[in-house]
């Protein structure tokens, strides 16, 4: 059996044109596409990210802090030893002032312009489109916030965030503010040892926009998306690349010679299947690693992340090998191997399309996206993207089992379809 595998690998290696198109070309395409596409993307970014925000402060912070100091002194909830600490913390970074400082900080100043004004002015300017969004810090905000956090009194106060249009940049500001509030809460909480802080309590008011981005995730940029989707697509092609050699072997009569040696028929199939697996595996890892080395696609990612990538890739390559296996069996059955190659190529293009390898899945209608996940490449791409974002091990098992099951069925069917030893056509 190994003889067949060596033969198939050697044949592949000798065909330099094939080596280049299959191994090098995908990497070149990923790099070129990423560089050209991210250029366009970045231009859009700098244009769109210029966001003007009108801020309305109705809260009287200094008065609230004085009141808060008094309440803390009388409070029985806070240990006497900690009281000084809590007050010092709040005085050092009063909530509203901190937020304003944050919004005007150098990191944000590039894309957020903050204008302070009265509520009616703000509402009007947003309506007219002079400003993209408005943020209202309501009266009593500081007071409510502090007593809620430290004294466990009242409810969590809400900031009012609203925008005329729902746009990506508005969402981003929204997220940024929320992130800041979360952090602020955490810092206050630290100042009271034993003070229990529930981070989820920090919520932005209704009327703004819905939170889009997931917390604690890596978002996927364009070159990362290309690397994953092109990697998956090109590996998919490997199935027909290797299987189509069967047609060549029939045409050049080497297959007849093999038949005459009375070798168990499955050795031939085994060679093709294993060769596909090995080549596909090398190919996808080369694309991932190459893209990482050239574009820094996966920089700052953990070892676990890479292990997961290798694992998902391996399972996918297994599925591709299964596809190659069944294609090999079918082309041995068919009188006309060229026709078989055409059919296989079409199937792969179809899989590639609905699996989202040519165009991002999210531009497709929902039902098609769902079907897409029934293709091995679509499922793999979805899993890879999920793994990329969350590195959540539990997302890997089900798809992997599905892919392995799919492969085993393919291999089983191809063994049944494969002409048996001694069978004469």
């Amino acid at each position: 059996m190994l003889t067949f595998l060596i033969k198939d690998l050697l044949l592949f290696w000798r065909d330099r044109k094939e080596v280049v198109t299959v191994i090098i070309l995908p990497l070149v395409i990923v790099v070129v596409l990423s560089i050209s596409m991210s250029g366009i993307f970045e231009e859009n970014q700098s244009e769109n990210y210029d966001l003007s925000l009108s801020v309305v402060v109705e809260d009287d912070q200094s008065e609230a802090i004085e009141e808060f100091k008094a309440s803390v002194s009388q409070s029985e909830q806070i240990a006497n030893a900690m009281k000084q600490n809590v007050i010092a913390g709040v005085e050092k970074a009063p909530p509203v002032e901190s937020l304003m400082q944050f919004l005007n900080s150098p990191e944000l100043e590039d894309w957020i312009t903050v204008n302070t004004m009265s509520e009616s002015e703000a509402a009007e300017s947003v309506e007219k489109g002079d400003h993209h969004a408005m943020l209202v810090i309501p009266e009593g905000y500081t007071s409510q916030l502090l007593s809620n956090i430290y004294l466990d009194q009242g409810t969590e106060p809400a900031l009012k965030f609203s925008a005329e249009e729902t746009a990506v940049e508005v969402d981003m500001v929204h997220d940024v503010i929320q992130g800041f509030l979360d952090q602020m809460n955490l810092q206050y909480a630290v100042s009271t040892s034993g003070g229990e802080v529930d981070m989820n309590q920090v919520q932005l008011p209704e009327g703004g926009t819905e939170t889009l981005a997931d917390d604690q995730s890596f978002s996927l940029n364009i070159d990362q998306y290309f690397t994953l989707s092109m990697g998956v697509l090109f590996v998919l092609f490997m199935a027909s690349t290797v299987a189509s050699r069967t047609g060549v072997e029939k045409r050049e009569h080497t297959f007849n010679r093999i038949t005459l040696t009375n070798t168990p028929a499955l050795h031939f199939l085994f060679g093709k299947t294993c060769a596909t697996f090995i080549l596909a595996w090398l190919q996808i890892l080369l694309i991932f690693i190459g893209s990482h080395l050239i574009l820094g696609t996966f920089s700052d990612r953990s070892f676990t992340f890479w292990i997961g990538m290798v694992f998902v890739s391996s399972v996918f390559c297994f599925a591709v090998a299964g596809m190659s296996s069944i294609m090999t069996s079918i082309s041995l059955r068919l009188k006309n191997p060229e026709a078989a190659d055409g059919i296989f190529m079409s199937i792969i293009m179809l899989f590639g399309t609905i699996g989202g390898s040519f165009i991002p899945i999210y531009v497709l209608p929902d039902w098609l996206q769902q079907i897409g996940e029934f293709t091995p490449n679509g499922l793999t791409l979805a899993v890879l993207i999920e793994w990329f974002q969350f590195e959540d091990l539990s997302t890997l098992w089900m798809p992997s089992i599905a892919l392995i099951g799919f492969t085993l069925i393919l291999i089983f069917v191809s063994i049944i379809l494969h002409p048996k030893k001694g069978e004469i056509s």
Partner: protein, 310 residues
């Protein structure tokens, strides 16, 4: 050893092999002679278990090959008409691959590859890719690939097409050696009668899917025993004359070859005088007249009225 019984093969409506009975005894060298499209390759494919006959059977030592092709494959070496080699592999790699899957013992494989390469005279080119070889060299490796497992029966399908006379003689000599020294049974297919004359003990002549004659060379030639073949050289060629000669009732065939004509006719006393008379009438001079020994080519001509390479 091998015997075919009323082999027939039909592709769709077309019958390409029809009622072929032939046999091969151990150690024999048998020729299968026929023009293009006679059905030689199809017959060979059926015998070597690559193709199922529409009707009929192939037997190896009395056992049907169709039902159990494994037996014949074990003892068979087949040199196909096409170059059945991996073009992208070297000669050595091809031999190694086929040797392995022929289950040549590992310990012997290397030495067998080298002796076989030596036999076909390509030892020094073994590291080169097949696709860089000339037609003749490819043919030789094509033969070598069928010899590695030391087959008892060797079937060669036109192994010398398209190669230079030197390589051709080399190959023929090699096959003769295998047959005479190793006792390999040989079935040799060709449409070159000289090759078959040189190599084979017995000959089958096929045409249009049927065996039209068979036997040893002398047996086949004896078909012509009551015919004469003569070559007449003329000072000028004349279609009138050719027509007139054909009118003579004992003449079976007339063929123009350059400035002379070849005539096959029943043995008879008056053919020469007739010829001279006819030539005289048309003012044509007979420059040379020669009786020829018949060849298998003439036998084919006699049987079909066509030459082998028509």
């Amino acid at each position: 050893m091998i015997e075919t019984i009323q082999l027939s093969k039909r592709f769709k409506e077309k019958t390409v092999v029809e009622g072929v009975d032939l046999y091969l005894d151990k150690g024999e060298s048998v020729g299968l002679l026929g023009p293009n499209g006679a059905g030689k390759s199809t017959t060979i494919s059926i015998i070597s278990s690559l193709l199922k006959p529409t009707t009929g059977d192939v037997k190896l030592d009395g056992e049907s090959v169709i039902k159990n092709p494994g037996d014949i494959r074990k003892v068979l070496g087949v040199v196909p008409q096409e170059i059945a080699l991996y073009q992208e592999l070297t000669a050595y790699e091809n031999l190694k691959f086929f040797g392995r899957i022929y289950r040549v013992p590992k310990s012997q494989l290397e030495s067998r590859i080298q002796t076989t390469l030596e036999l076909v005279g390509l030892k020094d080119r073994q590291k080169d890719l097949i696709k860089t070889f000339s037609g003749g060299m490819k043919r030789r490796i094509n033969i070598a690939s069928a010899l590695l497992h030391h087959p008892k029966i060797l079937i060669l399908d036109e192994p010398t097409v398209g190669i230079d006379p030197q390589s051709r003689n080399y190959i023929l000599e090699m096959i003769r050696k295998l047959n005479e020294q190793e006792g390999t049974t040989v079935l040799y297919t060709s449409h070159y009668m000289e090759e078959v004359e040189q190599l084979c003990d017995r000959v089958y002549i096929m045409d249009h899917g049927k065996v039209i004659a068979s036997g040893s060379q002398s047996e086949l030639l004896s078909i012509l025993s009551n015919e004469d073949t003569m070559k007449v050289q003329l000072n000028q060629m004349s279609n009138e004359l050719v027509k007139a000669i054909l009118e003579i009732d004992v003449v079976r065939h007339v063929e123009e070859t350059g400035d002379s004509i070849k005539i096959i006719a029943k043995k008879s006393s008056n053919i020469i005088s007739n010829l001279v008379k006819l030539a005289d009438q048309q003012n044509i001079k007979i420059m040379n007249f020669q009786m020829e020994n018949p060849s298998l080519e003439d036998v084919f001509l006699h049987l079909t009225g066509r030459t082998l390479r028509d």
